[in-house]
């Protein structure tokens, strides 16, 4: 049993390593094509094979440890420059990956004879023995390095030093005086910084006492194309001194200036083609988007002026020109806006990887076998949202594994495959991105939910809620359906927090479940938060903006078709009777005349629909939601304010919170 569990641990860990290795080998392949292989990449691959060898050896999986040992050997030769980095190497590495996946599958099925590694091993040996590069001399006559230092270099460091000498990089002795207490952190920081512009070949502690008590001295041997002054400027520290360790100053003054301008060029000839991306602080993008937001408003003003001009003067030449300009401006602005927003978008796949790791860990902890299926990883969402989304998604998945997926026995009895499946899919639907988490577990047990809700006082004892209400209850604060608190789910945070997070992103969440078959959580989000589509409505003298993301449809009705239930207004929309909310009442507006044919803005909140009663729909517009300051932050039913090109700002209605106020009370009151 002990062995079983350590085997499971090994498999999941090995799968993680292999997953990462695949990515790294792919990058190695591209970097070979671009002729800019970075030593740290080879090092990383080496280390991964090394740990693979370590863990498989420890558990006695000799077939895997023996195989990885040979590969590690090859990679060691590779990083020491004894074998050239070539496509041949990459091919062998990819074949090894397949082989290792196979060997792990063997392990799962308790077999040992399906996979024969010898053909690949033969290639590995060929590489080690036949593609050996001529041995390089390891003295450095051109360097000002003392015997002691040279002796303390490892074989690998020697090789890197040689490489840098061959490449005619500048070599420096960088002396750092660091504080005892913080040296590890500072050393890493400085090394990272230096590695961006060159290569820290060796880090040597020094035992100088001159630096004084509480200080430590390090010497870095550093290869780069920067000048000493440039290094100092980059490091921006006073406790750093730099000495050149190349004896000959072979460079002419003109070369020196050329390198000043393009310090990285010689280091890496293909860097130019690769570095076509720019890292930008998301805040800067926000600023740009804000300005665009203002421009959108200005555009609306121009359009208004042109309309007024045409109304006042008929189709005068100026009026027509202005309206054409306004249309043109709109097109260009839309294009600009789309482009800028696109720069903020990142693929959903980014969180998939994170979630994948978590699912493997969870399934190990719960002893449940779970397969993971992803789709739509290319679907793009705003960077900020991706970040905000990972917690709610983790929570939903945790619930799915903890409460949804049954253990193997139970699944077998239910006639399901022993391994459970969680499917994560993302796709675009109109202006929204939809993310679904689907599990094939036992589904939400409505009965259990009811019991629990009664226990928690969320439901009066005599009331039997329907399925929809039960699902609604899942999202109420203080509800947790697990009988015993488990390590996984018993963290005091429930789906109410998930729901809050999602509404914070101007999105909403819904659930479909079928007992015995599984559950699907569906999260719908706007693609970006920066600029949203809104419907502008008029209620009496006031205009309001309602985000399109919360609107499912609009209908014009006859006021005589409005009925009441317990003096609350309702309307029969197709086969459903939905509650009506008068914005004028919700906001205590003086209401003089009620429209004979008002419009209903149908909003959907989770499982509920409700109709907001408005006098007129005045159009659809892109808006930027702005805060009204600390004091007016938490007004129910209001998300903020915006400008639509008129003299007054308009309030943005938070339809969800407005409807919630109306429907929640009803459910609780029974």
């Amino acid at each position: 049993m002990e062995r079983e569990s350590s085997k499971r641990d090994f498999i999941s860990e090995a799968e993680e390593i292999l997953e990462e290795l695949t990515g790294d080998i792919q990058s190695l392949e591209t970097s070979i094509q671009h002729n800019n292989v970075r030593p740290d990449l080879i090092n990383k691959i080496f280390r991964q094979f090394h740990s693979m060898k370590g863990i498989s050896g420890m558990l006695g999986f000799q077939k895997i440890s023996g195989f990885t040992h040979e590969l590690e050997n090859m990679l060691d030769n590779l990083r020491l420059g004894k074998i050239a980095v070539s496509q041949k190497v990459v091919d062998v590495l990819f074949q090894s990956m397949d082989l290792m996946h196979g060997m792990i599958a063997e392990l799962i099925d308790e077999q040992t004879d399906r996979i024969d590694p010898s053909p690949v091993l033969k290639k590995v040996n060929e590489l080690i023995h036949e593609d050996q590069l001529p041995a390089q001399q390891v003295t450095f006559p051109e360097l000002d390095l003392d015997e002691q230092t040279l002796r303390s270099l490892t074989e690998y460091e020697e090789h890197r030093l040689q490489e840098n000498v061959n490449r005619r990089a500048q070599l420096y002795n960088v002396r750092l005086v660091l504080d005892d207490a913080t040296f590890d952190h500072e050393l890493r920081e400085i090394s990272d910084l230096l590695n961006q512009h060159g290569e820290v070949i060796s880090t040597l502690p020094s035992f100088e006492s001159a630096a004084g008590p509480g200080k430590m001295v390090f010497r870095l041997i550093y290869g780069t194309n920067l000048t000493a002054e440039n290094i100092l400027r980059k490091v921006e520290r006073s406790d750093v001194t730099i000495g050149n360790i190349r004896k000959e100053i072979s460079k002419t003054a003109s070369q020196e200036t050329e390198e000043e301008q393009e310090p990285e060029r010689a280091l890496d000839t293909s860097l130019k083609s690769l570095s076509r991306t720019v890292r930008v602080d998301i805040q800067k993008l926000d600023e740009v988007i804000n300005v665009i937001g203002e421009l959108v408003i200005t555009r609306a003003m121009v359009a208004n002026v042109s309309r007024e001009l045409m109304a006042a003067e008929g189709h005068s030449r100026l009026g027509v020109t202005l309206s054409r300009v306004a249309v043109d401006l709109e097109k260009k602005l839309n294009e600009l806006q789309r482009n800028v927003i696109e720069t903020r978008l990142v693929p959903v796949g980014q969180i998939y990887h994170k979630l994948g790791r978590m699912i493997r860990k969870l399934s190990r902890e719960t002893n449940k076998q779970v397969d993971l299926r992803f789709s739509g990883e290319d679907t793009e969402l705003d960077k900020i949202m991706i970040e905000e989304l990972s917690d709610p998604l983790m929570h939903i998945i945790r619930n799915a594994i903890d409460h949804g997926i049954e253990n193997a026995d139970e699944r077998r009895k239910a006639g399901k495959p022993e391994r459970g499946t969680i499917r994560l899919s993302a796709f675009q639907r109109g202006n929204n991105v939809v993310i679904q988490v689907h599990d094939d577990g036992r589904g939400i047990q409505i009965k259990k939910v009811q019991e629990q809700a009664r226990k928690r006082g969320l439901l009066p004892p005599d009331r039997v809620p329907d399925e929809k209400e039960c699902i609604e209850i899942l999202f109420s604060p203080g509800f947790s359906s697990s009988d015993e608190v488990t390590e996984l789910s018993g963290r005091g945070v429930g789906l109410d927090v998930v729901k809050k997070n999602i509404s914070g992103l101007k999105g909403f969440i819904s659930v479909q479940t079928q007992e015995g078959r599984g559950t699907m959580f569906e999260i719908t989000l706007p693609i970006t938060l920066a600029i949203i589509q809104a419907l502008i409505v008029r209620v009496g003298q006031n205009k309001y903006a309602i985000p399109m993301s919360s609107i499912s449809e609009t209908v014009q009705i006859d006021r005589n078709d409005i009925r009441t239930v317990d003096r609350k207004e309702v309307y029969g929309l197709r086969d459903r009777t939905i509650p009506l909310i008068r914005i004028s009442e919700a906001f205590h507006l003086p209401e003089k005349v009620r429209s004979e044919t008002p419009y209903l803005v149908i909003v959907k909140v989770g499982e509920h629909s409700a109709g907001l009663v408005v006098d007129e729909l005045t159009g659809q517009q892109e808006i930027v939601i702005k805060s009204m300051g600390e004091k007016l932050k938490n007004i129910p039913g209001i998300a903020g304010a915006t400008e639509i090109g008129e003299s007054k700002p308009v309030l943005v209605i938070d339809a969800e919170s407005m409807v919630e106020e109306a429907t929640h009370g009803r459910i609780r009151a029974g």
């Binding site: 007016l632 007054k648 700002p649």
Partner: protein
């Protein structure tokens, strides 16, 4: 004893940018009125500069350091579920600013805004707040020691808003305790 006796010998170049802008605005918008230009940048400890505005025929003063700008009246958009003296929000260069009505805040009858009506925009860190006033009139420099205690004619909640009074020429300037004046939830 009064502050108007002491002309402060401060060169014009040392006026802070913000105050200079403010004064320009005052001059431009209130060109029919006399505006004091004596706004020193580094006001000595024992002195202060006060923006004077009118509410219901009385003159009120607030420390000019709290003032971000003064704008012509524009109609605010009403905000529900809040205090009755909050007229709503206005937008000043894209920023949403809640605006309270100075008259209502003091318990006076509100009046129809006219061409002298202004909104004083106050800034406290990153928070902004507007006050609708009947008019802004001038900036006055005074010695703090010349501020008198509020005469005991004001009682109730309004007494809390008042810091003291200051006699300027033949005007009585009522100094507001801004923090309390602006406090509401």
């Amino acid at each position: 004893m009064n502050g108007d006796d002491s002309k402060l010998p401060v060169p014009a170049t040392s006026t802070t940018v913000r105050q200079a802008e403010l004064l320009q605005k005052l001059l431009a918008e209130e060109s029919d009125q006399e505006v004091s230009l004596a706004v020193p940048v580094s006001i000595p400890e024992d002195q202060m500069s006060v923006l004077v505005f009118e509410l219901g025929g009385e003159h009120y003063g607030i420390d000019i350091h709290d003032v971000a700008e003064i704008v012509r009246y524009k109609e605010p958009a009403a905000v529900p579920h809040t205090v009755d003296f909050l007229d709503g929000i206005i937008s000043v260069r894209g920023r949403m600013i809640p605006v309270i009505n100075g008259r209502k805040r003091l318990g006076h009858e509100p009046v129809q805004p006219d061409k002298r009506t202004r909104i004083i925009v106050l800034q406290d860190g990153s928070e902004f707040q507007g006050i609708v006033v009947d008019a802004t009139s001038q900036v006055v420099s005074l010695f703090k020691k010349d501020i008198e205690a509020t005469p005991p004619v004001v009682t109730g909640f309004k007494a809390e808003f008042l810091e003291g009074v200051y006699r300027h020429k033949n005007q009585l300037i009522i100094l507001l305790h801004l923090q309390r004046f602006l406090q509401y939830v």
